[in-house]
C-alpha cells in the first residue's frame, strides 16, 4: 500500500496511472471485438502508422496528436476496408503498410532531428509522456467507449458474432465499423505514447485472449477483459516503479504472465 501512496505523490505518475487505466480499459473492450473478428493485427499496423505520423510531426514541429490522430483514423478505415473486401490478403496488406510507415518514419527522423529521446519514447514508450491534455482526451475517449459498450452492447455482440445476420436484421453494420476504426485509432495514438509503438497492440490483444480462456459467455469475456487489462496495467506500473523497468514493457510482461497463468488454469480444468 505504501508504494502506491508514494507513487501517487508524483503528479506525472498520477497522470500516467489515470490515463493508462482509461486507455487500457478502452483497448481491452475494443480488443475483444477486434480479436474475435480476426483483426488483431490492425492494432499493430496502426501503431506503426502512428509512429510514422509522429516522426513527421516532430520533424516539422507540428503538434503530435493533431497530426497522428487523423492520419491513424484514415489508416484504420483503409485497413478495415481491405480486410472486408478480401482482395489482397489482409494480413499481408497490414504487414506491408505497417513496415512502410515505420520505414518512412525512421528515414524522416534520421534526416531531420536524429534519434532524439522523443522518438525513442514513441518507439518504446515513456511514463513521462502523459500530459494533462492526454489525460483529458483519454477520459473523453473512455466515456464514449463505455457508452457504446453499455448502450449498444447487443448490437456490438451481433456485429461481432455475425455481420451478415446483423445486416439482414437491419443493423447498420458499416457504422459500427467506422466507429470501431475511429475509436481504435484514438486509443492507439493515446496509448502508444506511454506503451510505445512496438508494444501498444498487446493492450488490445492480451486481455481478450486471457479472458477468452476463462469465460464462456460474451458478456463474461468483455467484463473480464476490462478487469484483467486494468489490473495488469496497475501491477505493471508498480513493478516499473519499484524495479525501475520501462513502464510499457513491464505492463506487457505482466499481461503475458497472466495469460500464461490462465492458459495453465484452462488446461488443468480441461483434464
Amino acid at each position: 500500500m505504501n508504494v502506491i501512496g508514494e507513487m501517487l505523490s508524483y503528479p506525472f505518475l498520477v497522470r500516467a496511472l489515470v490515463g493508462g487505466v482509461l486507455v487500457s480499459l478502452c483497448a481491452s473492450l475494443l480488443g475483444v471485438s477486434l480479436v474475435l473478428k480476426r483483426y488483431s493485427m490492425i492494432g499493430d499496423g496502426l501503431s506503426h502508422v502512428s509512429f510514422g505520423a509522429l516522426s513527421l510531426a516532430i520533424a516539422f514541429g507540428w503538434q503530435p496528436l493533431q497530426v497522428s490522430i487523423p492520419v491513424v483514423v484514415i489508416a484504420a478505415f483503409f485497413l478495415l476496408r481491405i480486410t472486408e473486401n478480401g482482395k489482397i490478403k489482409s494480413d499481408a496488406a497490414i504487414a506491408v503498410i505497417s513496415a512502410s510507415a515505420l520505414a518512412i518514419g525512421i528515414i524522416i527522423t534520421s534526416l531531420t532531428t536524429g534519434m532524439t529521446t522523443d522518438v525513442s519514447s514513441y518507439m518504446f514508450g515513456s511514463i513521462l509522456a502523459m500530459s494533462r491534455a492526454d489525460v483529458i482526451l483519454s477520459a473523453i475517449l473512455s466515456v464514449i467507449v463505455l457508452f457504446l459498450f453499455v448502450f449498444f452492447y447487443h448490437k456490438v455482440f451481433a456485429v461481432t458474432f455475425d455481420e451478415n445476420f446483423a445486416r439482414a436484421t437491419g443493423v447498420k453494420v458499416s457504422w459500427y465499423h467506422i466507429l470501431f476504426a475511429v475509436l481504435t485509432a484514438v486509443t492507439i495514438v493515446l496509448g502508444m505514447r506511454m506503451m510505445g509503438a512496438m508494444l501498444i497492440s498487446s493492450l488490445i490483444i492480451f486481455p481478450a485472449l486471457t479472458s477468452m480462456r476463462l469465460f464462456k459467455s460474451f458478456r463474461g469475456v468483455m467484463i473480464a477483459a476490462g478487469v484483467v487489462s486494468v489490473v495488469c496495467f496497475c501491477i505493471g506500473m508498480v513493478i516499473s516503479y519499484e524495479a525501475s523497468t520501462p513502464a510499457g514493457a513491464s505492463v506487457v510482461v505482466v499481461n503475458l504472465a497472466v495469460f500464461l497463468l490462465c492458459t495453465g488454469l484452462q488446461w488443468v480444468r480441461g483434464r
Binding site: 455482440f157 451481433a158 445476420f165 439482414a168 436484421t169 443493423v171 464462456k216
Partner: protein, 236 residues
C-alpha cells in the same frame, strides 16, 4: 396469397458486374424452395439481393411490409470467426430479436420469452448456458435457426446450411427444417449443393446459372431437361 418476396426481371451484382440477371420468382407463405446451381451461378448473390443487402441493378424486387419491419430470418454460411467464439447459446439466440429492440439497449421480457419459445421449438433448451464453440455442427445449426426464427417466423433463408455436417446430422437438419415448414408454416428458401436431398425435401426448385434455368415445382423439375441433366437421369 400475397407473396413474401417477389422479383420481376431482377438482376443483382457488384460494381457494374451483374452476377445474376432476369430473375423472376416469388416466395409465397409456406413455400419450400430449393435454390440449386453450380459454383459461381449467383446463388449467394441472389440471396443477398433477397435480403436487401444488394440493390437490384435491373428489374424490381418487392418485399412484404411484415418482413421489412422485422427483417428476414437468415442463416448465413458459417464464418471462421464463429468457430471459437465465446458466447452462450442464450446470447446467440437472443441476438435474433435485435431488430425488435430498436434503440432500446436492453432486451424486454417479451423478447426473452420469444427466444425461449424458439429454443423450445428446436429442442435446445438444455444447451442454454453452453458455450457456442463447444457445440457440435448440428447443434450449432439449431442454435442459428432458433436465432433466425426470433427475427421472423414467416421466412427463413438458409445459405448452404449442411456444409460441414456429417450425413446423419444433415438428415436431422432436414427433418428440423421440414417440420418447421410443414407443421409451423415457415416458408423456406434454401441454397444447397445437395441436389438429391433438395428434390426430396423442397416443394419448388430454382435452378440458377447467371439466369434462371428453371423455376417450378419439383415434379416439373424432374421432368424438365435441365433437371434431368442435373439429377443425372437416364438420358445423359
Amino acid at each position: 396469397m400475397k407473396p413474401l418476396i417477389e422479383c420481376v426481371e431482377a438482376g443483382f451484382g457488384y460494381e457494374n458486374v451483374d452476377v445474376v440477371t432476369e430473375v423472376t420468382m416469388e416466395v409465397l407463405p409456406g413455400d419450400y424452395i430449393g435454390v440449386v446451381g453450380e459454383n459461381g451461378a449467383g446463388k449467394s448473390t441472389l440471396i443477398k439481393g433477397l435480403l436487401g443487402l444488394l440493390k437490384p441493378t435491373s428489374g424490381a424486387i418487392t418485399i412484404a411490409e411484415e418482413l421489412k419491419k422485422t427483417g428476414i430470418g437468415y442463416l448465413p454460411q458459417q464464418t471462421a470467426a464463429q468457430k471459437d467464439f465465446p458466447a452462450t447459446v442464450w446470447e446467440v439466440v437472443l441476438s435474433g430479436t435485435l431488430s425488435r429492440a430498436g434503440y432500446r439497449p436492453f432486451y424486454s421480457r417479451e423478447e426473452k420469452k420469444l427466444a425461449e419459445v424458439n429454443m423450445g421449438r428446436l429442442g435446445i433448451e438444455d444447451l442454454k448456458y453452453k458455450c457456442y464453440r463447444d457445440l457440435s455442427g448440428g447443434q450449432k445449426q439449431r442454435v442459428l435457426i432458433a436465432r433466425a426464427l426470433c427475427a421472423t417466423e414467416k421466412l427463413l433463408i438458409l445459405d448452404e446450411p449442411i456444409t460441414g455436417l456429417d450425413p446423419s446430422a444433415a438428415q436431422e437438419f432436414y427433418q428440423v427444417v421440414k417440420h418447421l415448414n410443414r407443421d409451423q408454416g415457415v416458408a423456406i428458401l434454401m441454397v444447397s449443393h445437395d441436389i438429391q436431398n433438395m428434390v426430396r425435401q423442397a416443394g419448388k426448385i430454382l435452378h440458377l446459372n447467371q439466369k434462371v434455368l428453371f423455376y417450378g415445382t419439383v415434379e416439373q423439375y424432374r421432368n424438365s431437361s435441365v433437371g434431368r441433366r442435373f439429377l443425372g437421369g437416364e438420358d445423359t
